[in-house]
């Protein structure tokens, strides 16, 4: 039973004991908590509102206008910008490119990241050094990486051509051929981001209790079955986290494309985020750029929601 203080008036109302002072005080407490809550939240909410939500609302408005970012007049054009996107062959290509890039870049980053993590989880010599090396590209600037890889991909005097030469394969003209430019971008992106996935996977691997493996061994499970039935399910929350963040990051990958190909040749590496930039700053068409940005936003939101809704159900949180 709750204790009451001396000052509290204890009365009985319709057979129930009511502690007046306490209820008044709890109401005051609640108010004080609200005030505190608002005081704590307000700076954040104001900043969020000012720099995230307001620009988003403004972006929606801009997507229904035609504006060259310099003219004092913005023309209302209704849904014309969206109609343009629906009809624009380049935009269709951009959507296909984005899908291609996202699936390949995320798929390979996670797959190779997992393999590397499994290797680094073994009691190897120089393991810590190897971990640092694997993670290092993640920390580098995308623009700098882009410049260096442009040289590596040169079909005549590039490092890649030499490596391919060792196995008697002639180098494709990576950045000048539409069919090779996207694979080149994907290779660089995976190289840069695989280390991050590997480190996160590694943390997940090390959190798996050893006795699960011991039990599996006792049950006669071989290496493959231990991986399939213990490692993979236990890694599922980590994999899920990596999947969501990698997809979102890949959608926003801009620096490497800007530096290495600028969306070319013939739009073969033009992805949604690059298209937003291109329409904004090459075509000086803020309205169309805003419409494309909104498409990007909606796509990312839908994908994230779908993932949260369906994928999470399959995730095993141990």
């Amino acid at each position: 039973m709750a204790s009451t203080t001396r000052r509290d008036q204890v009365t009985t109302y319709r057979g129930q004991t009511v502690v007046r002072g306490s209820s008044r005080r709890s109401r005051l407490d609640a108010q004080r908590e609200w005030v505190l809550f608002i005081l704590f939240m307000l700076p954040n909410m104001v900043l969020f509102g000012l720099f995230t939500f307001w620009p988003m609302v403004e972006n929606v408005r801009l997507s229904t206008q035609r504006w060259d970012m310099i003219s004092p007049v913005r023309l209302d054009v209704g849904l014309d910008n969206y109609r343009y996107l629906i009809d624009d062959e380049t935009f269709h290509r951009v959507l296909r490119n984005t899908a291609y890039f996202t699936v390949a870049a995320v798929g390979f980053s996670l797959l190779i990241g997992l393999i590397v993590a499994l290797l680094l989880n073994q009691p190897l010599k120089f393991r810590n050094g190897a971990r640092a090396v694997v993670f290092a590209p993640t920390l580098l600037s995308g623009a700098a990486i882009g410049i260096v890889w442009s040289y590596i991909f040169d079909p005549r005097y590039g490092l890649m051509a030499q490596v391919l030469g060792w196995v008697s394969v002639s180098s494709p003209d990576w950045l000048n051929r539409p069919e090779w430019a996207m694979p080149a971008i994907i290779i660089v992106y995976v190289w840069k981001n695989m280390g991050f996935a590997a480190v996160i996977f590694l943390a997940g691997l090390q959190a798996i209790p050893r006795d699960l493996y011991d039990a599996a061994k006792v049950d006669g499970a071989n290496v493959w079955w231990r991986f399939r039935s213990v490692t993979l399910p236990m890694l599922s929350p980590i994999s899920f986290f990596l999947l969501v963040t990698s997809i979102l990051n890949t959608f926003q990958a801009f620096d490497i494309i800007r530096v290495m190909t600028q969306g070319g040749p013939v739009d073969s590496t033009n992805t949604l985020i690059y298209y937003v930039y291109d329409q904004g700053f090459t075509y000086i068409n803020a309205g169309r750029s805003a419409a494309a940005a909104l498409v990007l936003f909606v796509l990312m939101m839908v994908i994230t929601l779908v993932q949260l809704r369906f994928a999470e159900q399959r995730v095993h949180y141990g």
């Binding site: 060259d68 970012m69 310099i70 003219s71 004092p72 005549r156 002639s170 070319g264 013939v266 700053f281």
Partner: protein, 445 residues
Amino acid sequence: MTGQINRRSLIKGAAGAAVGTAALAASKRSSVFAAPAVIQETGSQVNVVFWSAFGGKNAEVEQEVIKRFNESQQDVVVEYQYQGTYEETAQKVIAALQARQAPDMAVLSEANWFRFYANQYLAAMDDFIAAEEIDTSDYVESFLTEGQRQGKQWWMSFARSTPLFYYNKQMWAEAGLEDRGPKTYTEFSEWGPKLLKKSGNDVSQWAFLHAPAVDYLSWPFQGTVWAFDGAYSDEEFNIRITEPNSIKAGEWLRSTVVEGWSTASQDRTTDFVNGVTASIMQSTGTLGTLIANATFEFGSAFLPSEVTSGCPTGGAGIGILSTSPAEKQQAAFKYIAFATSPEITTYWSQNTGYMPVRKSAGASPEMQTFYETNPNFRTAVEQLAITKPQDPARRFIPAGDSIIGKGLEEITVNQAEVQPTFERVKATLEEEAKPILEQLKAVEG
């Protein structure tokens, strides 16, 4: 040491500062308060903020020009601020105009200034030209008139260039060719296969490399399309790229890749320096880079002709922003007059490779001696006689360069059919021209 700080001196200092502040506050109210001497001295000077777009060695040369200007007189101080490439500078000026923090003048490329003019953000220079008593007849006419609309001067040429045909003399000799550029595109097509070296599918030496769309492919091709007596557009923005002569130019472009002696390259300048290609078309502004990096002897020549000759101008000039007060506009022009004076033009041109914008500078004994020792610089100046401003479709339609360039890239990269490709380019250009035409109608009637 006398400057040692201890707690006592700190407290004394703080007290002193407080007294000083109080005294200052009191004196501010008094009518006899006088500004410090320094401010009085510079009070009559006009400070001009100048946004520029030259990097590397050209930036050093430009800063020297500004230094000389600031030292040459007492009325104006130019404050130099580097903003990136031509495109980045234009983007920043646009953003600054929105934030009402625009500079007083800015370097604007031949393809960018028009956007500011069409939105009435450029100040006409005619009154300033008159006030400074500038003899405009000494300016190279095509450079001067390019910045004119409605009979007024809105933009002044400063760092102007043209494409040149550069060739590797050693490869030329190996192919048994005369030491000169091809006279016509037809002749170049005959030479192309002779300059190609390949074994199986591996090409070790291309005869020629095309620029990618993002590196202004539509700029040298402007010369090609004119040479075939075609055009991107006329002065009224009527798109002419699908006319038979323009298509012929496109067919020539396509033939170079179909016949296999040329292809597209992301970085043709580096490829030329590394001996991957025997020739390229590139800006006069690249001459310095080529001289510094090429380990072989190379020549420069006019762009080839065909039915007629064709070569576009390029590069940048300076615009004065109309958002600045009249006093600053006037002061900004003083710098433009200085930077395009015969003396500075000579200095700028010799050190950067950009073409002299003043006739007297180009003809000066100093410049003539320079050309004697650097014959490649002379080619550009001699070619000037057949050079003209590009068609409005490329210069004035936002992304005009990119739209035409991507069409041309379809041809150089994918060997796309010319007619349907140019039809698509035409449709896009017409669509994108609409807003600028409306703006022009509003501004020029």
